[in-house]
Amino acid sequence: MIFSTFVFLRASEAGEKASLLDVNGGLAFWTAVTFIVLLIVLAKFAWKPIIGALDSREQGIKDALEAAKKAKEEADQLIAHTEKVRQENEEAARKQIEESRKFIEEQKLKMSHDLKEEFDKKRKDFEAELDNREREMIDRVIKEVADVTIAAAEKVVKSSLDHEKNKVLVNKFIEEIRNN
């Protein structure tokens, strides 16, 4: 490049007439010098740091994207895992609820059954007792009536009839009542 500017310098010595297409050696020389200096200065102080920064930023963005992708994958995995655990838990809970319900149902059934049984038993007992009492009462009343009747009859027919005969009669009479 420098060499060629010297060629231009030589050439420009020859021609004197000014024309648009004339090559000016001095200007070519200054252009070469300026351009080479500019190239060296810019390469060292501008292009190297700027391209370095751009590349590092590119790398940074690439890394960040990679990291984001990885994080997303992890998050997805976590979500899937959580979902699985949740489903398992739900299943377990449902089972438990089902069991509880069944248990409660059974319990209810059993309880009502027991209660009914007890109630029935109580009622039966009560009825039985009531029957007993009634019978006792009737018996007592009959006895009383019999005694009173006997006593009255004794007083009425004291002498004519003996006590044993009357008793048989009365018993016969009671029997008749009871059968009615």
Partner: protein
């Protein structure tokens, strides 16, 4: 009538400012071409020193000044950007804009055009892209000069691409392998002499095309703008001014597009040439 009006234009062309100082459209060329002064007319001109070393004239000219201005501006802004990137990876409004261009050159130009091992060439392509971009835009600022509309500058830049291309090709394939790889595989032996000439010519036409394309594109727009403005003086009436200025403005807008486009095309083609030299098999 027709001859009269053309004669009038021709007459006024020879005396564009009514001063009769310059010949023909020389005043346009004066604005576009290099000079030994900074033109701030009508305020004035700053004359620049002439330097001669070992018989070589390396004077500081107008284009050298703006060349340096572009380089200094570029270095300042990009080193500032780099400072910020050393502190933090997060772009702000300014570094974000620079970053877009860097990514564009790196991932849209260098990577697909060069392919494997493109990283080595990214600093060169970035420097070329930003330098041409800044020089092109600096040329659109009033009172400045468009460095890239000077064939010396574009030729030097093209030679830089040429050098990088040859260096890259030889480094990858070896000096002998590189020159051998220039000839396509499987061509008949009797065609070899022609192919060798064609391929070696091809080596030099590529940077030549690069230099001419950038130079012509950057020059043409300016010439059109000056010509449109010159129309006011040529026709010698203020009535044409709205049309001239309006059209010049439109061309100026186009120039903004061209400034970006040419920086892109130069970088793109440089990358393609480097890619062809590095991966010769396809």
């Amino acid at each position: 009538m027709y001859t009269d009006s053309t004669k009038a234009i021709a007459d006024s062309l020879t005396t564009p400012h009514g001063q009769g100082a310059s010949q023909g459209s020389d005043w346009i060329l004066h604005h576009i071409m290099d000079g030994n002064y900074l033109d701030f007319s009508p305020i004035g001109k700053i004359y620049l020193p002439e330097i001669e070393v070992m018989g070589f004239n390396i004077s500081i000219t107008r284009h050298v000044v703006f060349l340096w201005l572009a380089a200094i501006l570029l270095a300042f802004l990009l080193i500032k950007t780099a400072r910020r990137y050393k502190k933090t990876n997060i772009p702000n409004r300014f570094t974000g804009a620079i970053e877009v261009l860097i990514y564009f050159v790196k991932d849209e130009i260098a990577k697909p055009s060069i392919g494997g091992g493109y990283e080595k060439f990214v600093p060169y392509l970035l420097t070329a892209f930003f330098f041409i971009l800044f020089a092109n835009f600096l040329g659109l600022v009033p009172f400045s000069a468009t460095v890239t509309s000077n064939i010396s500058v574009t030729a030097t830049l093209a030679i830089a691409t040429f050098s990088v291309t040859q260096w890259g090709g030889m480094r990858k394939n070896g000096v002998f392998g590189y020159f051998k790889g220039l000839i396509p595989h499987g061509i008949p032996v009797f065609l070899l002499p022609i192919m060798i000439v064609v391929e070696i010519l091809g080596l030099f036409t590529k940077p030549f095309a690069l230099a001419m394309r950038l130079f012509a594109n950057m020059t043409a727009g300016h010439i059109v703008i000056y010509a449109l403005i010159g129309l006011i003086f040529t026709m010698n009436t203020i009535a044409v001014a709205p049309v001239s200025v309006g059209m010049a403005l439109a061309i100026y807008m186009l120039e903004i597009l061209v400034a970006m486009l040419q920086a892109y095309i130069f970088t793109m083609l440089s990358a393609v040439f480097i890619g062809m030299a590095v991966h010769q098999d396809h």
